[in-house]
Symmetry: C2
């Protein structure tokens, strides 16, 4: 009997609606995973609701418990925009990013696919003969402008100065670049570095150097480079050209939302915060947020959360079960006709396909 | 007789092809500008070609001369991508950004319009009944991660660390925010701040505070906020909701390329690097680069350069002539049928419409 300890953090808003559907599909995948594998789930109540009620974001004891799990499934965290009791950054820095940093999730994995039947807003992907979009963004998860390194002086005065420091280390860049090359080698053997080397020069140099150096170990992978601003144009005009994209934390945040937008929406975008060294539990979550405006109405699309389960199964070594979940998602998408379905209906439909 | 001293920097690649067309249209606009106004043009040979030939980027003497002009029209600068003799940043930091910083171009003005006839790649803007896109991005031009404040230690070793500092001052943020509010007040009275306040917390706070404070002086302007990643989705799904967007230097760089992409391409996107205090010459340039791959073939679209002339005329106080140029661009776009035209043919056609 293999027992896998799974931390479940539904979070806030639609996170609480999509996570049950993801777990439904995980249960349905049981036979594909193997009769001898059991997921022991522990729910953790974290997010805006807990913070507003108790002032707690991520108590050390909870972090210690989560650290002892094998994997984490997260829904979404975040309260009502502009809530004066919830200043921006409290939950993001204190919970989401804290988990990514503490658990050293240095590979933030974000696949983008134009699924058959998914509604891309791009005219060229309407109707028959649409090209294929199938790439994965390997976003660095522990450095760059995300380290919270900065400060302010003379706050609130006309002489205020606020700084933010982007930190880029050879240690941090090399490991994520190596992971990206390894993924490219198993795919279509193309890697694109995205940065802004012509302006953000120091950080640009370390990324450029390490892509060249690590790339020498992967001579069969073709390498190219795009500025982050030019990527806006490429992702809209010709997203099918990309295979694996490697980039820093902030640029990755931005381009993966655009990738989600052009492939049919944020409701489909799954992600993994992965520690490839497996010394800590990796965390899987939909790219979308808690969407308080539609929360509690069973309107949210749980597909991204379910896709995150597929990424988790793949990471845990159950490639076949992961493929079964992905196939069920695609089959479900193929049958969507635009008629609204309840969150639980989508979960039921995909779970039924996985089960059989 | 009013004499306006105009510095002309064609630059590299297609910059050398689109600038003559822009000047053609400026000449055609003569009567609309006024018989008593003369543009005294001085050409400055700057860019990759000059750097590769002489090692010079922007000699102090040239900068001093340019500073004494009334306005600057720039084509594009940049050599072949990956040219080992032209490391990334040399021209960008040494010429383009140097001009923006030295001349204190704190408002980087980038209007986005879906012109009738322009080919948006978005399905919802195909055919009849298309919504209107008409917004302007007011991008901060002298601060943020663009100041070149950073460095590297242990370069080339596994212990290398590279930093980049984003600098945000109340002085710098307030003035650009005030400019954006003033523009919104003359338009549809809506201002959207774009930032990443949930992660880039210190910088986010100074932007948020100053938008609130300056906004109190403009009670008739409605204010909202979007994270830069969420903007990717909004600009693809519903760009017509925006009126004036104010944002920092890097986020502005990124979202204006996406704005150009969704409104029919970078060949149409004009920009102004403006010093609203008029203590230095403002600089007008197409958003596109030097495009060495199509340079010298008369394939480039000069519309963005011509649109930059309209922005320049407006800045110089010739609103009617600016409107005439804009109207000629729209009329020309309306008649485009997708058949390729030479760069000079487009310039001739627009100039003819302006003339008469
Ligand atoms: C919520 C926020 C901290 C987060 C990020 O910026 O990484 C989100 O946008 C994401 O992409 O997962
Ligand atoms: C070339 C580069 C320095 C510049 C920028 O980043 O501002 C360009 O992308 C732009 O948008 O004008």
């Amino acid at each position: 009997m293999t027992s896998i300890k799974l931390a479940v953090i539904p979070g806030d808003g639609i996170g609480q609606e999509v996570v049950p559907e993801a777990l439904k599909v995980l249960a349905a995948a049981g036979p594909a995973i193997g009769a001898d594998v059991k997921f022991e789930q522990t729910q953790y109540d974290l997010g805006a609701e807990r913070y507003l009620a108790t002032g707690e974001v991520l108590p050390d004891s909870v972090l210690a418990e989560i650290r002892a799990q094998d994997a984490i499934l997260l829904g979404a965290v975040g309260g009502k925009p502009g809530d004066p009791n919830l200043p921006p950054g409290i939950l993001e820095r204190g919970l989401l990013l804290k988990l990514r940093f503490e658990l050293d999730h240095y590979v933030n994995l974000r696949p983008s696919k134009l699924f058959p039947g998914a509604a891309s807003p791009l005219a060229r992907y309407q109707g028959e003969g649409a090209g294929d979009i199938d790439f994965v963004v390997v976003r660095e998860g522990t450095e760059g402008p995300y380290t919270g390194n900065g400060g302010s002086i003379r706050v609130g005065t006309p002489a205020e100065v606020a700084t933010e420091v982007s930190l880029n280390t050879a240690f941090g860049v090399e490991r994520v670049v190596r992971d990206a090359f390894a993924r490219a080698q198993k795919r279509r053997k193309k890697l694109t570095l995205v940065h802004k080397t012509n302006v953000i020069v120091n950080a640009g140099k370390i990324w450029t150097r390490l892509v060249a150096e690590v790339g020498a170990e992967f001579p069969d992978v073709a390498v190219d480079y795009q500025h982050v601003d030019a990527m806006m144009i490429h992702l809209v005009a010709n997203p099918s050209q990309f295979d694996v994209i490697v980039t820093d934390n902030l640029f990755g945040d931005i381009i993966t939302d655009l990738a989600a937008a052009v492939t049919g929406g944020i409701g489909l975008a799954a992600s993994g915060n992965v520690n490839p060294d497996r010394t800590t539990p990796s965390m899987f979550e939909p790219v979308h947020g808690s969407a308080p405006d539609i929360a509690g109405q069973q309107k949210a699309d749980p597909t991204a959360a379910i896709g995150s389960v597929a990424l988790m199964l793949d990471h845990l070594g159950y490639a076949e079960a992961a493929a079964a979940v992905d196939a069920a998602i695609i089959a479900d998408l193929n049958e969507r006709d635009g008629a609204p379905r309840r969150t639980s209906e989508v979960g039921d439909a995909i779970a039924a396909r996985v089960a059989g």
